[in-house]
Amino acid sequence: ETAVFQTPNYHVTQVGNEVSFNCKQTLGHDTMYWYKQDSKKLLKIMFSYNNKQLIVNETVPRRFSPQSSDKAHLNLRIKSVEPEDSAVYLCASSLQGAHGNTLYFGEGSRLIVV
């Protein structure tokens, strides 16, 4: 049963455009994450938020910016996309942090940059 919802599922855009991905969780969790999954299935953490506060901000290009309006929502905006941004972006949530807690993932948002 899905409790982390991502939109859109799929997006094709041209180099230089702006895209946004939305994520909502209905689990009542405090922590949300964005991961990037490349074509080899490697999962890399990008950001994590706890109760709307940015906690982890891995080394990602400045064109990526997360946005959290409340603890149930964490969106990801990419200004001026590049070809290497083509990937699946996965949103996840956990009760509070990853310290021995389960992460619940959405189904992902696939971005193709042409």
Partner: protein, 111 residues
């Protein structure tokens, strides 16, 4: 560099056979988790095994943890075609606000 790493990139077995995926990690951990990702879906947790546990079971799945050698294994018995997926081990990094995933093992179960 990866803090957790599965030892095989790909495995294939026939239905009904057993298979084991191994994982090594580099940090002290609170827990090690195993996730499965089916095609077109997000990863879903299979087992969470805490640092003070040596073995955990979930139906046909059995995970072991050896903190002295910093390794873990996930065994699946009586495999089914629907077990075909990428299997990841994951550990919580220092600070515990992120889960670090290994590079994954693609398991294919053939009829």
């Amino acid at each position: 560099s990866q803090l957790a790493e599965e030892n095989s990139w790909a495995l294939s077995v026939h239905e009904g056979e057993s298979v084991t995926v191994n994982c090594s990690y580099k940090t002290s951990i609170t827990a090690l988790q195993w996730y499965r990702q089916k095609s077109g879906k997000g990863p879903a947790q299979l087992i969470l095994i805490r640092s003070n546990e040596r073995e955990k079971r979930n139906g046909r799945l059995r995970a072991t943890l050896d903190t002295s050698s910093q390794s873990s294994s996930l065994s699946i018995t009586a495999t089914r075609c629907e077990d075909t997926a990428v299997y990841f081990c994951a550990t919580d990094a220092s600070g515990s606000w992120q889960l670090i995933f290994g590079s994954g093992t693609q398991l294919t179960v053939m009829p």
